[in-house]
Symmetry: C2
Subunit: 308 residues, 2 copies
């Protein structure tokens, strides 16, 4: 399975983008927040209800034109268990609407712990005789600093359940080079070595498009490095953050793709979910604004690549 399902959804809607569901409070239009606080008070429960309504509206507005959503765990954890319940509901709802769900959790831990994460996020948790699915995302993001034993438990679950993961290589944040770009190995960099490790870890899990179940995160904000990573990781599906608000352009992200617009997906969070802030309608039109922004992003990227 690997990334086949994601690639097919991308081909079906001819759109290689993922909408980041990062519901910071100020991203949620006021009418949604007001209604939620009126029902639940200015409480964690009220905030959780607000982001659920916001997410649901975004998914409804995007599900036929955007192949995937990527909820960022931090914005749910920050509301405690109530937020995590909304995370579960958001994943379930997006999948019901036919979207490929990437849970952006960036986990990484020793083997037995990685197994527990993997059960919860991708596989199933055994309780007595019962096997219970929990978050049940299609894909997660991981941090490979701890080495193969922190990633392999996820890959085992991916094989069993036909899922996939993206491991950090070169991130989009301004300080990413502080460790990642340090010289390492023989005329190489830390992120370059990480790229090789991920290619190696994935061997044997290739799907029909040639990509392994171990994808990689490579930021749009470093286009030259993105180009090198694409060349260096021929069997690796790339998740490309940093387009739009963080500064990456359509011209930059083209380097992430193989021929036919394959092998990569570009994320935008603020650019889509905050698009309503630029229309002057106080957010009543957030669904339409998100949809228009997603279509513009698709068209922008497709000036440089052809999806076929």
């Amino acid at each position: 399975m690997s990334f086949d399902a994601l690639q097919e959804k991308i081909l079906a809607v001819k759109n290689p983008t993922v909408a980041g569901l990062d519901p910071k409070p100020e991203y949620v239009p006021e009418h949604i927040r007001k209604a939620a606080y009126a029902a639940h008070g200015e409480t964690l429960a009220g905030a959780a209800e607000a982001i659920w309504q916001f997410n649901k509206g975004l998914i409804d507005a995007l599900c036929d034109i955007v192949p995937s959503v990527k909820p960022q765990s931090a914005y749910y954890e920050r509301l405690g268990w109530r937020g995590m319940e909304v995370m579960e509901r958001t994943i379930r709802y997006a999948k019901e609407k036919g979207m490929y769900v990437i849970a952006d959790i960036k986990r990484g831990d020793i083997g037995s712990t990685a197994e527990a994460y993997s059960d919860g996020w991708l596989g199933a948790t055994q309780v007595g005789e019962q096997s219970c699915t929990v978050f049940d995302a299609d894909c997660v993001t991981l941090n490979g600093y701890m080495g193969a034993d922190s990633v392999n438990p996820f890959l085992n679950t991916c094989k069993e359940y036909g899922k996939s993961c993206f491991v950090l290589v070169k991130t989009s944040n301004p300080g990413s080079g502080e460790l990642q770009n340090v010289s390492a190995g023989e005329n190489d960099t830390v992120y370059g070595l990480m790229a090789d490790l991920i290619e190696k870890w994935g061997v044997g899990t290739e799907g029909k498009y040639g990509y392994t179940m171990a994808g990689a995160v490579a930021g749009a904000t470093h286009p030259e490095e993105l180009r090198q990573i694409r060349a260096r990781m021929p069997h690796t599906f790339l998740l490309v953050p940093g387009y739009g608000a963080q500064g990456g352009t359509a011209e930059d992200v083209q380097y992430a793709f193989h021929q036919g617009g394959k092998g990569a997906i570009v994320n935008s969070s603020r650019g889509i979910i905050c698009a309503w802030k630029k229309t002057g309608h106080n957010g009543e039109d957030y669904q339409e604004a998100a949809r228009n922004a997603a279509l513009s992003m698709r068209d922008d990227i497709c000036r440089f690549i052809t999806i076929e």
Copy 2:
């Protein structure tokens, strides 16, 4: 504040150890699981109730002799939001019992996302006019692969709320060297460079014992490297996993400490919470067994260091 509170708790009970609350299902004695499943069925709710009862019993048994507990988030996330609710309750209960709580979450993300994690785990989440504490741990573990902008938001929260964090340097798992021990910089290693970054990030947050709010994780399973890390990070409090079940010995962990047994805390999870498996009483005695194991661990480590 920094690690002052933790250091003082260690000095008060003369025990530089932390009990890892990693409640894998097979670690929970059968009588607890049976009672929880009888009340809630073999469901996620049943499993959550079982680990809550187990944790509560462990905290009751340990709180006057062990200064700290470290719940590992994966074992709670694997039960979804119900598990996270138990994580919140466990943190609150351990703090009420006077323990210093390290939430083992190993998070790391871009700045705005790191802020959201930091609000949820250490600080407070703003909802309208209200400021809501959520997980409210004393300390978290972090992964610094993404650089300073992934750690600084946590350090800002630490300063505001008097809390602290541990950033991964050299982890205890068998594959930790795959990236961490690669040669990097000038005659150095990836973990060595990470050690220097953490010392640098922490500057200006030193507490009364001289340690910054940015601690480091350095595994007991690599004693020579632990010794080097201790020398290289004079202002850094160390969290040392890998004692006991993972193979680290009391002789090995001594290198983590400064004079007077200061500046480090050694974790044991299985060695304490599964101690009941070695007594032949089916886990009815798990509290006594955990307490005895914790006392033995303390005495074992104190053969090599003096806490004063």
